[in-house]
Amino acid sequence: MRFLHECKADATADLVYRVCPMHLLEPAEFLKDLHTGQVLEIVTDYDGALEDIPAWCAKHGQEFVGICEDQEDEDLYKLYIKKVH
């Protein structure tokens, strides 16, 4: 898992408390509104996303950038996807 020091994104998908498998359905919807090269931030409380999101990126040909710690809430994860296509 790659931890990022600089966490910048062009859009955020807040999936906190949205039940599994919403974390695998919503990123595709959000990426539709982004341009190639732009970054999507996914905020989630779901541990399974740490494995699922990189795997989803690999399967769908998107770039998984890494993960940031949430400074305000240690129970949340921030994951970053760069749009490839």
């Binding site: 807040d14 999936l15 906190v16 408390y17 949205r18 039940v19 498998p21 919403m22 359905l25 809430d73």
Partner: protein, 395 residues
């Protein structure tokens, strides 16, 4: 025998147009909306179209509406779901003392199982929460305030957006239960200034078994029914498609007919209230005289029990209530009326009429013909009334 139904706050008949819209979704259009084949995916599109109709009634974006099984579930999701999603901010919620059981008991659940502190706000003699009292009750730990838009028991409309503005200034979530108001007066989430709002199908001329919750964009909610991706992962369980279609159809009718309905109901209600004031002595008109639902008239008749009056009226084909539909079975004296400072002796003579556009003047006149002798008859048996009369005459 003539029958007159004046308890529309408890339930309304499903409008024929609504039933017609619902029927295909019990039979030929039965597909599961989560299915990927067309029999299912087409139903998903229907749900989204109905969601837009409900959103239009509330002046809300359609993606901010969650369908639930009833108003009570929507209230649970609002009070528990929003409070539990913001635990880091604090563990204090405020509700008015006259909320529906689904709000009061959701708050008590938070108190019992999640160490929340709950403040039950008192109301004035009209049943309104005073904004100053709300202001004083707020603490740095306050996460959510829930105050109903109007009470279905005494019809008083709360002071919006004054109440919600106090919370918005301090970043505190504000929920309102608009079950009693959504089919009676305009309900616009922006004008009300609320973060969460509840409505229910049967209060709008829609079916039972369906409700909805509006939530402000970006607001996190902990689901109260955990399942799959339905309602975008915020409320699990296969969708009640006929109910959703019924709610959408009812919302559309309300949206179209409301201005005309308000003036009609107000005239009918005033005819009823004036007639009762003329025909019966020692009666108290409860709730606010002006800031109230147009189809709502509530009274306390001194010296009698509301329940006995309901039975007598029932024998004449008149259906009314003594209070809220849930509370009237469970309690002898309404906690709402007591919270308004009405003595238990007076409060036990409570009678509530809630009218709808289907009611006619001749029905109101029938009530005005049958009610005064019914009150007189009960008072003739009443020791409380006899004692009062003796005191008045100096005997």
């Amino acid at each position: 025998m003539k029958t007159v139904y004046l308890d529309h706050a408890a339930a309304t008949p499903v409008r024929p147009e609504v039933l017609t819209a619902m029927l295909p979704y019990f039979t030929e259009r039965f597909g599961n909306p989560s299915a990927v084949y067309s029999l299912g995916s087409e139903i998903k599109e229907v749900i989204e179209a109905e969601r837009a109709k409900v959103a239009r009634l509330l002046g809300a974006p359609e993606e901010q509406i969650i369908f639930t099984s009833c108003g009570a579930e929507a209230n649970n999701l609002a009070v528990k779901g929003a409070s539990l999603a913001h635990l880091k901010k604090g563990r204090h919620v405020i509700v008015s003392a006259i909320e529906h059981h689904s709000v009061l008991n959701s708050a008590r659940y938070l108190e019992k199982f999640h160490d929340f502190e709950v403040t039950f706000l008192p109301v004035n003699r009209f049943g309104q929460v005073e904004p100053e009292r709300l202001q004083k009750a707020l603490t740095p730990a306050t996460v959510l305030v829930s105050i109903q838009h109007a009470s279905n028991e005494m019809g008083t409309i709360q002071r919006f957006p004054e109440l919600s503005a106090i919370c918005r200034e301090q970043g505190i979530l504000f929920h309102t239960d608009a079950v009693a108001t959504a089919g009676q007066v305009p309900v616009d989430v922006k004008e009300l200034g609320v973060d969460l709002l509840t409505l229910s199908g049967p209060a709008l001329g829609g079916p039972k078994g369906i409700g909805a919750l509006y939530f402000r964009r970006g607001l996190r909610l902990v689901p109260q029914i955990h399942s799959g991706i339905q309602e975008n992962g915020r409320r699990g369980g296969t969708e009640n498609v006929p109910g959703i279609v019924g709610l959408g159809a009812a919302a559309e009718l309300v949206h179209r007919e409301l201005p005309e309905k308000i003036s009609y109901l107000r005239a009918l209600r005033d005819r009823l209230a004036a007639g009762i004031n003329r025909g019966v002595a020692d009666v108290l008109f409860t709730g606010h005289p002006e800031e109230r639902l147009p189809g709502h008239a509530s009274f306390c008749f001194e010296g009698i029990e509301g329940e006995a009056l309901i039975f007598l009226l029932n024998s004449q084909g008149i259906f009314a209530n003594t209070g809220s539909a849930c509370a009237s079975k469970a309690l002898k004296v309404s906690p709402t009326l007591c919270a308004m400072g009405i003595s238990p002796e007076i409060a036990q003579g409570s009678l509530v009429f809630t009218l709808d556009a289907a009611n006619r003047e001749d029905e109101v006149d029938y009530v005005l013909e049958k009610l005064p002798p019914a009150v007189e008859k009960l008072r003739s048996f009443s020791p409380v009334w006899r004692k009062k009369m003796a005191a008045v005459s100096g005997g």
